[in-house]
């Protein structure tokens, strides 16, 4: 399965806004934070508004606010807005559908799709944000390397 750019952008935006439902952010601010196209993100934001996940705030300092329940909305709810299906990339169609190999490959594809859907449906925005907070608190590989280099590497005696 190949996730489209729009889907990833939508997840960035929804999760960033769900961090604090009181905060409103402009498209440009989110695009800058994730180094993504403002133009593309603007289209995605309109779709998220139509889905009721975020709301547009007009006026000076306007932008978008999160408007759903982060304990209820799962990653699947966001992904499903942009992905027609979650099927794997086996292109079993036409005459190949009737062959044993075609059917067996389709079964493997269905299994992957089923697992993908179950995974996305089980992770709420709140759960993902909890993982994000933990990841942000953890040192990066570069920080770990620098800390090791700065430490006194005395041999054990």
């Amino acid at each position: 399965m190949k996730i489209q750019k729009s889907t990833t952008f939508a997840l960035f935006a929804v999760l960033e806004l769900a961090r604090d439902p009181e905060v409103q952010l402009a498209t440009g601010e989110i695009a800058e934070a994730y180094d993504i196209s403002v133009h593309h993100l603007a289209k995605v934001m309109r779709q998220l508004v139509r889905a009721g996940l975020i709301q547009s705030v007009r006026g000076a300092g306007g932008g978008y606010k999160f408007s759903a329940n982060p304990n209820r909305i799962t990653l699947y709810d966001v992904v499903a807005l942009f992905e027609d299906n979650l099927a794997s990339d086996f292109e079993v169609s036409g005459a190949s559908v009737g062959t044993g190999i075609g059917r067996a490959l389709q079964m493997v594809g269905d299994e992957i799709e089923d697992l993908t859907r179950a995974t996305l449906q089980s992770i709420t925005l709140t759960t993902l944000l909890r993982h994000a907070a933990r990841a942000e608190a953890a040192p990066t590989p570069v920080e770990i390397r620098e800390a090791v280099l700065e430490s006194d590497l005395e041999p054990l005696t």
């Binding site: 799962t74 697992l115 179950a118 995974t119 449906q121 089980s122 992770i123 709420t124």
Partner: protein, 145 residues
């Protein structure tokens, strides 16, 4: 003890939709009143009413896995859902497992059971290193692939 047994059977019937008195009798024989066997049946009471239970144990070397805690039963009555009863029960189970010296906890949830999948995910659980496989004996014609 007899009262506990009946309350758990009733609660499990309410939450799972299937009554299994024999199964629970077996569980009570193995898990209740037996010292230091790393098996736990935890019960949540609210004003004398049993509102939840968690069932778990430490299993070792199944399919090469080092000792690991398993949560394999959980039920919370519908009246008190979303009041963290399940979280408290599972966290208490985690504490028992920590005391037993194991480093990880596993559970098994139907991929269609999004309620429980989301619940365990919310506690920080993620996909583990093992993949569960199944073979349908009903469809089997006796031939081996």
């Amino acid at each position: 003890m007899a009262g506990d047994y009946q309350r758990i059977v009733d609660l499990d019937t309410e939450t799972s939709g299937v009554s299994k008195p024999d199964y629970w009798q077996d569980i009570f024989n193995q898990y209740v009143g037996v010292e230091d066997n790393q098996r736990y049946l935890l019960v949540a009471d609210l004003a004398g009413e049993t509102v939840g239970f968690a069932l778990g144990e430490v299993r070792a070397w199944e399919f090469g896995s080092p000792p690991c805690g398993w949560v394999f039963g959980l039920g919370v009555t519908a009246d008190v859902r979303e009041h963290r009863v399940g979280s408290v029960l599972v966290q208490a189970m985690f504490s028992h497992f920590r005391s037993d010296g194991v480093a990880s906890v596993r559970t098994n949830v139907s991929r269609r059971d999004t309620l429980n999948l989301s619940f365990f995910r919310s506690l920080g659980m993620t996909a583990g290193p093992y993949v569960q496989l199944e073979f349908s004996l009903d469809d089997d014609d006796g031939a081996v692939l």
